[in-house]
Symmetry: C2
Subunit: 206 residues, 2 copies
């Protein structure tokens, strides 16, 4: 076998066995219910080897999902700068990833996410543990409103990804990213930062 170089050293069979065990564990027991130790047991390897190959449980999950991006990095990048431009900035960064080399992996991820109940469950854990849970505090959102706000914004982005990259509906598929960011950014901004009394009611004055 040829010697492997670069960022993913070691036996590729071992690595694949760990990823398969991780997918099964995350889908069956959820993100919180899955430990590195349980994945190691499932793959028949030492837990230290899982840490060696993948680092943290988060990184293992992203690798198991073949995620084209780390949502944490996207969130960090989007929240730097003028808070009033958060929505436009977020959509722009999101499209830059999909329009780039990560796009094919993104399409594969979406295809697998909707393929069946098992993969849908895995994707649900991904959105819950990697996106919603991080985004709510990172964006400084209220715990009661944050999850719905972030899931509205995320569902819009999933819809854009579906229409532009999977179904390829025109004119959305070939519109410049800047046009989509200008159109969709304010909707994302509204979900994340506007008071939305029609959704959450008018806050009581104390």
């Amino acid at each position: 076998m040829a010697r492997r170089t670069g960022r993913r050293p070691g036996n590729p069979d071992t690595r694949e066995a760990i990823l398969a065990a991780a997918r099964a564990a995350f889908a069956e027991r959820g993100y919180d219910g899955t430990s590195i130790r349980a994945v190691a047991t499932g793959a028949g390897v030492d837990p230290a080897l899982v840490h060696h190959y993948f680092g943290t449980k988060d990184k293992l999950f992203l690798a198991a999902m073949q995620a084209p991006l780390d949502p944490q990095e996207l969130l960090d990048a989007a929240t730097e700068g003028d808070p009033e431009q958060l929505g436009v900035r977020f959509v722009r960064l999101f499209l830059r990833i999909w329009d780039g080399p990560g796009g094919a992996a993104g399409v594969a991820l979406l295809r697998s996410a909707v393929g069946n109940e098992w993969t849908a469950h895995l994707f649900r854990e991904f959105v819950g543990s990697q996106i919603l849970r991080r985004a709510v505090p990172r964006l400084g959102l209220d715990d009661a409103q944050g999850p719905l706000r972030v899931s509205l914004a995320a569902s819009h982005m999933v819809g854009i990804a579906m229409a532009r990259y999977v179904i390829k509906v025109e004119p959305l598929a070939s519109a410049p990213a800047e046009v989509i960011a200008a159109a969709v950014g304010p909707s994302v901004q509204r979900y994340l930062t506007d008071p939305l009394p029609e959704v959450f009611g008018v806050p009581e004055t104390s």
Copy 2:
């Protein structure tokens, strides 16, 4: 074989053969490039039989897609009433269909739409011929702006359907339909009816 009664008379094998020929024709040649005659030839039956079973080419397409709703009917219902409430009304009607008995068919349709290139192409034809083309004149939209406006609104609805019914992300999956309509309706309204100078530029004064 038991005698069939109700709205779908005739030989079920013939009916299925017509639907299979229709799916192949619509995916390969598109909606406009497909004639009832060509579908009949593909299925080895007389064109009159296709008309007898399915009526128009539109109805045949909806049946071939196993569409849970006729987009034309949804559009007609949504455009009746206060134009300023169009977005909220549209989202409410859309969710009522998905929350009802048509929801399972909708999930199956979305799953098949993203399964592979062939079914994605079929879904793209569905969106183009059954949604965009009808919605632009029905909503009185400008021909230059209408297709992007409608595809932005449609992509948002696809994302809501994905998140709520396929991936089942919480709290979106169990939020009351009225809450989602109140949240998403204004975004849909903005895409369809607001001037959006940031997207389309400021119109020249003549």
